[in-house]
Symmetry: C2
Subunit: 129 residues, 2 copies
Amino acid sequence: MPAESRLSDGVEPDVCAAFRDALDRVGSKWGLAILAAASEGPVRFAELNRMIPGISRRMLTLTLRTLERDGMLVRTVHPTVPPQVEYTATSLAKDLFASTRALSAWAENNHEKIAAARAAYDDAEAARQ
Amino acid sequence: MPAESRLSDGVEPDVCAAFRDALDRVGSKWGLAILAAASEGPVRFAELNRMIPGISRRMLTLTLRTLERDGMLVRTVHPTVPPQVEYTATSLAKDLFASTRALSAWAENNHEKIAAARAAYDDAEAARQ
DNA sequence: CCGAATCCTTTTTGATACTG
DNA sequence: CAGTATCAAAAAGGATTCGG
């Protein structure tokens, strides 16, 4: 096997695609927060709105719809007055949320190093000018 | 501890923030592909351009810059003619890339279920109209 | 070979007001 | 309570051109 063939293969596009596939659910601004909340038990719309600081009703609705469509949440309407809607995480969603831990842990452990690297880079940048 | 306090806490915003912090490096369209390539050994600009199908020189440059700034890549210029630039992944980057596996694995194992859920949702949607 | 600069399109997110 | 509708802004990505 020639030495250069390792590089001509093209970065395992399948792994890359799989990763982006996961991010389509949990990579949006509010996706993970919603899954985290729903993973602890059924939650209602207004409850989520309170639990997730800064989210608008519009973005909550949009994100809930895509999560429901992808089979991550089950939406249950209780025909009461006033209406009551519950969102429940599926086991698929719970697995996804669990698979998220490694990345969160990495970020928690290393964000100081990143901040330091960034400061060093910006200093060097400023010095060059 | 009252029953409702579980919900009033607000979805552990720290975990959520940490996760998004990791995504800032690996969540962009080409970030993971570049880290994957550089994790196997030093790579050159043109090499990356060939290894990653579809990327433009512009996006390659931009993504390399932010990865370098965050301490994920080391950029080495060899003053030859023509100029030659090598990018090497740091141990930080390799750890990050490794932490990515869980999510990739989840996606590979479950993307069929997601496709099925989505088809079912869209069918139900179409039937309602 | 390795970029920087410019211009443009698409995608995502947000503010605000209204409804069964 | 649980949404919709509309408008606007911002961010990300891409095409093309130029330069050391």
